[in-house]
């Protein structure tokens, strides 16, 4: 059993002050094994914070991350398009693709693979979605099965939903 935190599009300080305190209390150090972040943190301070939650962080570069950060990148065009995401998924040959940018949470199965967009953990301003809700995703991966927990902040309350995926062999 491996716990993977997917969190991205925080846009601190450009679009938001901080990760909501109610999220921070959930993100206790020592529980999470890996962090996957589809970019746009955007400062070192936020990176340092995520490091305290879990030291194993994999980050891609968002369009607002500074070039100096030297994260790997893969562009999707058109943005948020499922087919386009699937193309990237075929290219990277991955079972689960974590993407960002739209600030809209998504998790679904596409041709026996999974596409997950954890949304924006700060609910940052988006040119795609109006008033995005802060959200992040926690994956519990067990062999070919993944249980995906979606944490959303709605009216100052944390709501959790569960989606299960399994990969047929």
């Amino acid at each position: 059993m491996v716990l993977v935190l997917c969190i991205g599009d925080l846009h601190i300080p450009h679009r938001a002050t901080d990760i909501p305190p109610k999220f921070k209390t959930l993100l206790v150090p020592g529980k999470i094994h890996h962090i996957l972040c589809p970019g746009n943190l955007c400062t070192r301070e936020v990176y340092d914070y995520l490091k305290t939650v879990c030291t194993d962080i994999h980050i891609t570069r968002g369009n607002f991350d500074e070039a100096a950060a030297k994260y790997p990148e893969d562009e999707v065009s058109p943005w948020g398009n499922n087919e386009a995401l699937a193309l990237v998924q075929r290219k990277l040959d991955v079972d689960i693709l974590i993407s960002g940018h739209t600030h809209e949470f998504k998790a679904f199965k596409f041709e026996d693979r999974f596409l997950i967009n954890p949304g924006s953990a700060t609910g940052a301003y988006s040119d795609v979605v109006k008033d995005p809700k802060p959200s992040f995703v926690l994956m519990d991966i067990d062999g070919s099965k993944a249980t995906v927990y979606i944490y959303e902040l709605i009216d100052e309350e944390v709501k959790v939903e569960k989606v299960e995926f399994s990969k047929d062999d």
Binding site: H11, I12, P13, H14, R15, A16, T17, D18, P21, T43, R44, E45, R61, N63, F64, A67, E73, E75, S77, P78, W79, N81, E83, A84, A86, L87, Q89, R90, K91, D93, E111, D112, Y125, D127, V128, V129, K130
Partner: protein, 836 residues
Amino acid sequence: MDDHRIMTPQEEQVKWLQDASNSVKRNAFYMKRALDEDNLREALRYSAAMLVELRTSLLTPQKYFELYMQAFDELRHLEAFFKEEHSKGRSYADLYELVQHAGNVLPRLYLLCTVGSCFIRSKEAHAKDILKDLVEMCKGVQHPTRGLFLRSYLCQVSRGLLPDTGSEYEGDGGDINDALEFLLLNFTEMNKLWVRMQHQGSGKDRERKEGERQQLADLVGKNLTYISQLEGLDFKLYQEVVQGRMMEQVVSCKDEIAQQYLMQCIIQGFPDEFHLGTLPTLLAALPELQSGVKVHLVLASLLDRLSRFAATDASVVDQFNDSDAFGQLLGAATRVSEQHTEMPGADIAAMYIALANFVGAVYPDHLDHIDRVLQSCHEALAAHGDIREDRTEKQIIALLTLPLTSYDPVTVLGLSTYPRVMSLLKPATCKAMAVKIVQTILKVGTEISEPAQVDMLLDFIAPLVADVHMDDDDEEDFEDEQALVARLIHRLRANDPAQHYALLQTARERFSAGGARRLRHTLPPIAFAALGIVGRLAAAAPGAEACAPGALFRPSPKEVLQFVHQCAAQLAEAGENAEMALQLFLTAAQSASEHARLELIAYEFFEQAFILFEEAIPDSASERVALASIVGALQRCRIFPAEPRATLVHKATGYSAKLLRKADQCRAVLACSHLYWQDNCETTSEKLGEGGTAAAPKEDSGSPPFGDSEEDGSVASSSQPPVQDGEHVMMCLKRALKIAHAAQQQLAVALRSSDTLPAWLFVEILNHYLYYFDQGLSSISASVLQNLLELVANEMAGDNCQADAGLVAFYNNTLAHIAAQKAKPEKASLYDSLQV
């Protein structure tokens, strides 16, 4: 065998204690043998000889205590014998006389105390008489250590024998007054002895003496503990007798150690109600204390007790108010700082911190009390010499930080006294305080919703907003500070978009003075906050802005977008921020297109982004990212009619040729193909549920008279149907193929034919063909796709490609995708003729 070498003081102590202890043991042995033999005279003689050892002046208090405990234990045998004698018929009065024959005063008094306690217990004498006799006679020993231990012995053996209210010795034996008198007298005498210790011998080893005295403090304090434990001690007695006597002794002894210790003892030892009821007397003592006494600690523990007391019951706060406890406490602090001119500034500040803590705990809604604390503190410190010391400044920062967390920070900052206290700080410390203020506001989550509050807040954090004359700026600190300020901008918020906009305008004006290196931090958050307002304004129903009289003019979305434009332009001008400015222009362009539906404005934003792309993007890696962003943004925009759109798309597609590497060019062209093919899916406005084609706000009567007209693009227009231009898509795809071939040839020239990069590109191109095929693009027939499939298959057959596991996976995944599509019934007709 004797050791004749010179011993260290510690070794000497051990040896002296050993010698004395041996003597005690020996004499105790003889004493007990005499007791066994029923020989009282001999027993008394040996016990006196044993007790003579306590006359030593050689031992430190710690070692003396060990010896005392040893003798104490031995005396219990004698006591038991006395009781036995008594039961055989000998009267205690007789014994009381008999022990006075001992030659030396110290042994005599120990024996007397021992018999005395038995005498009282037997009730053959009145407790009050014996106690009075003993406590008076102990005056015979005036050596500090010996006297202190003797009186401590007296205290110990008389415990439980006092004529306290409800005790069996009350009545003929006296009453609570006698019990109090005994303990108070013993306390006074012990304190005198304790203080005298300081003045004995040479003044050289003051530190050692002070250390020894600290060890003995609890012997003196024990008396106060016993007093506080008396059943008969009520408030009246405390107020009329006890407190006065104690305070008199504390003040008049004029000794720092004693005062420090005893004040704490009194505050901790007696009940809260007593303190509250006698506050004037207690507080009056504070300014009278010696200058070396840490009055702030005394006051802090009193305040701590009182605030915990207040927390027990709501009615306590009423009692506080009835006696104006706060006013008295504040007055005491003021008098202390006036009286003790040499008191360190840090300690004065600490005193006011204690008061602020008290106010925060007891009066969570009395900001006026905080105001008074700050004012008082300012007066005390302004007159003070060493306020610029680090220690003092630290305390002042703590004092200023305190109310920020317990009250609404913005209201606290609005107190007139707050800036006055802050002005006591050095400029560098002011900056640290500014950081504290910002951190607190972020932590508490306060919203700043009035332009005047923005101005005030920025005044407070002025050292962060613009340069003050300081050269010791650390680059990393600077970045952190500016990131804090940037985060603060999102706390400037108002429900009314007009008000919110006013806040941002005020902030931007102030930040503009901060110079280029600050602007790159502060402008983006302002611009994004403004874009949020555009969204709100555009989403509002057209009639909603009929605002109340006196309310702010509601700005038009266009006006706010112009503001964003200015921010982005200012950012670009500030240098080295081209990428951020470009991203801002692109985000604003989407807002103009999809939210506000202002075509010309959206066009202008794209144009500015293009200019930056052409002139200011520093390196090829950044160019690649910037172009991807341009294409991504433009692809989504639905506002442009055919002609302007063609111009923008043509330009963006042209940029792909500007990229340095062939692979980047190829991928950029593939991305550009989507500029000619918009999904038929929901548009943003439909997703928003508002705006849209019909509900787009028309010319709004409340907007400022800019002479808006159709020509300058301030009228919202409806979005265009999705573009699906198969011809241009094909041109892009073919160009991508051409570039991939060119890349292949280039590698061949460089003798790197085994590089699999071209094959990667071919598979990517194939995927894009598949995408458009699936979308029903008529120019991609099954045979066209078939040809491409074969081309890719041939490429993939090469050994180099087969060795690239990633590539093989990509290819196989693509084939699997085709197979999956073929398997879908609704796609069967489309994919039927395709052979894999």
